[in-house]
Structure formats: C-alpha cells, structure tokens
Symmetry: C2
Subunit: 453 residues, 2 copies
C-alpha cells in the first residue's frame, strides 16, 4: 500500500467563489461488442454515464465530478435530468455549498416539481445523485482529503446533519444514529491504520457474465483464485440446466474455501425464485442476489424465509432509503448492496449505512459498471472507520474494466481495494476519455459504427 | 345523458400503414399564479404535460394522443424520456400494434437499457405510460369506440393478454384473473346501460387547495354541495391548527350526508401521520390520502392498523403494480387510487384493477392535473362494466380545470362523470392549446413573463 500520510497530497484551499457552470456529457462505451456485463435481464449493455462537472470561479483549480451510470439507450434522458438541475446549482456559493452538503442534498431531493418526477426514484433521483456526488468531489478536493477520510473525520453530529431522516422516524431516529456513531468513535484511528495497511476486501464478478462460454468462465475463475479473491459471483437465471452446469464448474475450480455468490438480476417471480434457489443451494452459495423485483419487499422477505439459510442480497436497484428501511424492517435481506449512483448520492448512502448498522445487516456495495468501484469504495471505507466498524463478511464488488478512464482509478491488489489517497471522490474521468467516448459523435463511436456496418 | 347507441359515432377504419412519427410537446399552464393545485408538498405547481402524438400513414386520419402529467420544472426531462421511445415505436405496423397492445406494452417496459432507468418507475416509466396511452387512443379511434367501451367488449382472455403478470404470481395468476372476469360477464350489458343512464360518481377536490383562504374554501364547498357532489376532499398537513379549523368549517357546510376526505400529500412520517389523523378523525373522514411516502408499504400498513377505522387511501404516486401488489398484501390501504399517467398506461392499470378485485379493495381513481380526468374515466368505467362490477364506495376525483383544452373534455353533471361517447381515449388536446401553452415560447408564457416581470 501507499506509504506516507493520507490527506496532505495537496494544500487545502478555501477560496470563495460561486458555482459558475454545470457541464454535462453523454459518455458511452461499446461494451455490448464483448458481452461484458451481460446477465439474464440485460443481454447486451453499452455501459454509459451521464457525466457532470461543477465548475467554480473560486480560483483554486478544483472542479466537482460525478455521474449517473446507465447501460446505453436512454443515457440522453439521464443527461437531460442532470441538466435540469442547473438552476438549483449554478450561482450557489461554493463555501456555503461545501459547508452544508446536507442542506444542499435535501433541497434538491425536496424540490417539489422535480420530486413529482419520482418521487425520489428513477431518472431524476439518479440525476440528483450525480450532482450531489460531484459536490462531494469538489468539497473533498478543496479540503485536500480523499472522500473516505473527509467523511471519517466528521463528528457524529456533523454526520447526522448530512443525512435525511425524513420518513425514517419509525426505524431510526437521529438520537439513535448519534449513539451508533459515538459507540465506535474510540477505534477510528486504529481502523484507519488497518485500512491503510490491508485495504478493503473485494470480490470479483468479472468471470461470470451470462454471455461468456464455459471455457472463458473457467479460465477467468482460475485467474480470480490466483489473484487472491475470496469470493466470485456469477450470473444465473437464464436457464436452470445451464446454471447447474456453470455452478458445478465454478465450484470445482474455486474449491471449498472460496465463496460463490450468484446473481439473478430480478428475472424470477417469487415462486420461481424459491424453486430455482433450492436447486442451486447445493453449491454452498454465499448469497443469491436480486432474486426478484427490487421493489418487492414482501416478495423478497417471503423468498428469504423459504430458502433459509441461503443469504439474500439486493440493493443496486433499490431506489431510495424508504425501500431500504422496509427491506430491513421486513427481514428481507442478509446483505445490503448499496450503489453509489442509484440513490441521491453520498448523503442518502450515509443514511443507508446508518439503517444497516441499526438493523445489524452487513453492507457489500454493488460496483462495476463505469466508475461505480471508484465512487463506492469511499462509502464502504467510511462505513468501516466510522459507522459499522466491521469488515466481517463485507466486501466491495470488483470488475476490472473501464478503470483506465479515471484520473485516480480504484485499485485492487491481492483481492483488496487499496485505500485512495488522492483528494476527492475518485469520480473524475480523464478528459481524453470523455472526448473519445462522447455519444454519438466521439471517435470511438464513429469507429464502432464502422466496425458494425 | 347522451342518448343514442354508443360506438357508432364513426365508421371503424382498419387501413394498414405504419407509425411514421412520434411527436412530442412541452405544454405547461401557469397555474401557480392562482395557487390552484397547492398542497402541503407542492406549494406552487405549474400543471404541465409531456405530450405525445403518434402519427401514421394509414390514411384513415387517426392519430394517437397521450401524455405524462408533471407540475412544471422538469417537464422537459419528461419530454426527453418520451422522445427516447421513438426508435421502439416509429416504423411499427399499425394493425399489428393495435392488435397486440399487450405485447407492445410489455416490450417497452421490458426493454433492458430503458428498464435500467427505473426499473419500472419514475420518468421513464411515465414516458412509457404516455406512449402506451397514445397507442390506446389510436386503437380505439380506429375501432370507432370510446376506450371504455373498446375495453369492456373484450373477452376475459383478451383482457388477460393485455396485462403483465410479471412479479405478481404470488398474488394473482392469469387463471384467477380469468375467473374474476368471467364471473361478471353476465351483467355487462346491464351495467353499460346503467352507466349510460347515470354516469359514474365523482367527488371534488376543487375547494380544498392549501393556498386558498377560508372564505374561498367555504364558498367553493357550498357550490360543491349545490352541484350535487356527495364527497369533497381538502388538503391538510401544513399546520394542525389550520387543519382543525378548516375541517370544522368544511364539515359544517357539508352537513352529515356529504363525505369529507383529506389529503396530506406525503408530508408526514409514520408517527406524525398517526398523531395527526387521530386529531382529525372527529370530522368523520371518508379517507386520509397519502399520509406518508407512497413507497412505504409497511409504514402505510402500520398507520392503517393504528388509526382504524379511518380509511387509508394512496396510489397517485405509486410507481407500479409491484408496489400496489404489496399494498394489498400488507393490508395497507382501503382505497386504491390508480392514476392514468403515473404507471405504464392502460395496460398496467388493467392489472392494477385485477389486483384490486382479487383483494376486494375499491378503486377511486386520482384525477385533476391536466387531462387526468379525461384519461382515467375510461379505466373506471371499464372496471365497473367488466372487472369489479361495483360502484359502491367508488368515485373518480374531479377538478373542473383545464378541460377546455381537450377536444372531448370529460364532463361532470350532478356529481357524475358522463359516459364518453366519442371514439378514442379522450386524451386529444386541442391544437390551439398546444401552441398557446408551448413552453417556453408559446404566447401564454410570453404573456405570463410580462405579467410577472
């Protein structure tokens, strides 16, 4: 791991100024060519981001970068939604923004006509997430700290001020949240050292896309074990005979000590999920992910009751904290898979972490896509230092793809995410990549069209 | 009511052809000037539609009209989402489309990259609803029938083919749905005659906007009673002292025989909702609407249990059939308020009606806004003729506003919706209105800017 103290990479700047521009970009990668990302619900995604840059006139050289992740068609709609936030962001005082990101986030989420478009879900909610995450990137750059550290050093009261407790009063109160945070205050420094030394556990989904041949699956599983991963996840849900064969193949390669998780990407209804999971449970599953629709709290709870003790995981498509609250209240999941870009950004994920801690459920973030590893690693590390104080059974998803497009890419070594040390949220994409993959007129797409034609 | 047989207003045309254009319009009405539509969550909406016209080259003169309803800012995002559906609609064979609207709807809802933007919720889901409803307008015009009649004359098997049972297997099977529909087949003709004679009951929300003075509230309540309405709904949730005074005022005017419903528009969390409803229940409430977040199935169920026997209503912001399924499974509501434009159009509302029938819950559609009365009346009338076969305790919301912009506006006489007799879904807006209220460059907005400046 990187030696040297964290957080002194650049000198903190706190010049004044205003947000002067909210720039948006439609950036797409032609991943469908290789079938990377193919699963039972999504046969041929083109990974994409609705990318946003917050520019300021503070004169400190810092800008805030964020994005919503989509899988191709409709990314233009996502970009339009981000752009619709311009009137609420441009002109805002930068110091005030960075000093009250809780207020900023709540204002965007609560803005009545935009809220009507959800409420608090789908395209508009993800757009708010992109802008809120960009503001966090800006704030942590200005503070000269990587986001995980910036968050981890906040007092319990400051953390609570960032969270939106609206609609959660029946599950967690601010007082309870403060108690959770205060209880783990003493070990913060020690856990930070541990993170610096070991990093945070990762598991890999790279081998198991549904569009891959058995040969490719086997080869990638062998590589995953050699690379030091302690868990591999594969896609299931297309055909049961195929799934049985693939699970057996993978289980044989992994051996008894490496965990195997499976992911159905919502393709089953409740009775089908129960039948299918019972057929697969012989492979000692670490978890079954998204066995059905992510809105189906009662359905997930019914599945979990029925297939006990197979653990149930969901979250990458959970729209907001109100659904997470209920998944916990209904005992519908064993593993909560927060996503950096599905909800309203860092702030909503802070309350999601607090809910998980209150209910004693482990968080294993969803990642992959474009920049999801980069963004969510900070949240998981903050969780370890300041919220759950645990890494037991916890790991962040890892797919080694598209990281080269980021200025400070997430890095996994020996099955562990390395601790980011550069100021910011790791969400800044390289300018060359934005230009190369701009849709539909960027050079990569012109070349892709030529190849396909 | 209109005499004469229904459905022979124009001769059915079944010329071939393809969909050649999906036109979109951003149409907004400056309603915030009068505070019409103001409630505890939405203080000053500008009612708006993302409007879509499906044009064909069939040569029969028919086009399909539909819309998503929003409350102002962000309507451009909604328009962008409708436009994103163009590749899935333009070029489609018109006869094939009209003959398989179930398949059409399922293809749009299931299209993987668009589904990622929800899934099945928010901006993209409402956009699908707009296009699906436009296709229904086209199909029923081509059949020469008003939509309610077109639907009501389908066989149980044809109705089932329109519905999407995905994720509902644990609540209702196609076989059960067929049984529900077959059981009420015998009385269809009689119920159609009853509708022609009496229409469908309406209740009014016009008096009770939160931005109205007590004097205006009182005057409008008197007018509502004189007009023959048997239920009035007012907004609550801003301030309890105000609510108590307003409820008392309204209850005194309505007398003991006219029902009073209240609507909190989601402003409460669970414990606050319980306290507030207990304070208001003295006014003999017909229902309390949206006491909390519409995603909070468990919260709504907890509220309902606690305030029994005060009926709980929700639905206008329920994103899809999976949430409705759970609201019914959890016994979280007494009144299911479907909305014509929040879900994926006519098709998703058919399955919502079937779910309600299965669980024995009454449906009282949400309406108002722009064109919501026009669109949803057909669904409620179809429900009466072919699904629930009941009007007991059922009524459609009515707000007498903005109807003049429609070619065939909904009409309420003596507290009842009149049966639409013109072919189509009543969703066609007048061309003059689209031009006048086009945002931001239409004449009405230029005038409004002058007024405000």
């Amino acid at each position: 791991m990187s030696a040297g103290p964290v957080g002194v990479v650049s000198t903190p700047q706190t010049a004044g100024g205003k947000v002067v521009a909210l720039e948006t970009y439609d950036v797409r990668f032609p991943t469908s060519v290789t079938r990377l990302g193919s699963d039972a619900m999504n046969p041929s995604p083109d990974y994409a981001v609705a990318y946003v840059i917050l520019r300021t006139d503070a004169g400190d050289g810092f800008s805030g970068h964020g994005y919503a992740f989509t899988i191709g068609a409709g990314n233009d709609v996502q970009v339009a939604a981000v752009r619709a936030l311009e009137p609420y962001v441009v002109g805002v005082d930068v110091e005030g923004l960075c000093a009250d990101l809780g207020g900023f986030s709540r204002r965007l989420v609560g803005e009545s006509p935009l809220r009507w478009l959800g409420p608090e879900k789908g395209v508009m909610h993800m757009a708010i997430g992109a802008v809120v995450n960009a503001a966090w990137d800006l704030a942590s750059k200005r503070a000269g700290k990587p986001l995980w550290q910036y968050l981890s050093e906040l007092s319990p009261g400051e953390v609570i001020a960032l969270a939106d407790f609206r609609y959660l009063e029946d599950a967690i109160s601010p007082t309870e949240a403060i108690e959770i945070l205060e209880a783990v205050m003493p070990g913060r420094a020690e856990r930070t050292s541990l993170l610096m030394e070991r990093g945070y556990p990762a598991y890999t989904t790279a081998p198991g896309w549904l569009g891959y041949s058995d040969e490719k699956l086997a080869l990638l599983c062998e590589e995953a074990v050699e690379s030091g991963f302690k868990q591999v996840k594969i896609k299931v849900g297309g055909d049961l005979v195929d799934d049985l064969r693939r699970c057996r193949l993978v289980r044989d390669i992994l051996g008894p000590e490496v965990a195997l998780a499976v992911d159905a990407n919502q393709v089953w209804d409740v009775p089908t999920a129960i039948r299918w999971i019972r057929a697969l449970e012989q492979f000692d599953l670490a978890w079954v992910e998204e066995p059905t629709n992510p809105d189906d709290i009662l359905g997930l709870a019914a599945i979990r009751r029925d297939v006990f003790p197979v653990p149930i995981a969901t979250g990458e498509n959970v729209a907001n904290r109100v659904i997470f609250k209920q998944l916990l209240q209904a005992k519908a999941l064993d593993v909560m898979q927060i996503d950096a870009c599905r909800v309203a950004g860092v702030n909503e994920n802070i309350i999601n972490l607090l809910l998980a801690a209150k209910f004693g459920v482990r968080v294993c973030p969803h990642a992959g896509g474009v920049g999801l590893c980069e963004a969510v690693q900070h949240i998981a590390m903050f969780d370890f230092v300041s919220v759950s104080a645990s890494m037991v059974g916890r790991q962040i998803e890892w797919i080694d793809n598209l990281h080269e497009h980021f200025v400070n890419p997430a890095q996994v070594v020996a099955g562990h995410y390395r601790l980011p040390t550069t100021p910011g949220a790791s969400t800044e994409m390289r300018g060359e990549s934005i230009i190369e993959y701009a849709f539909p007129h960027g050079p990569a797409w012109q070349a892709s069209e030529r190849t396909r034609a």
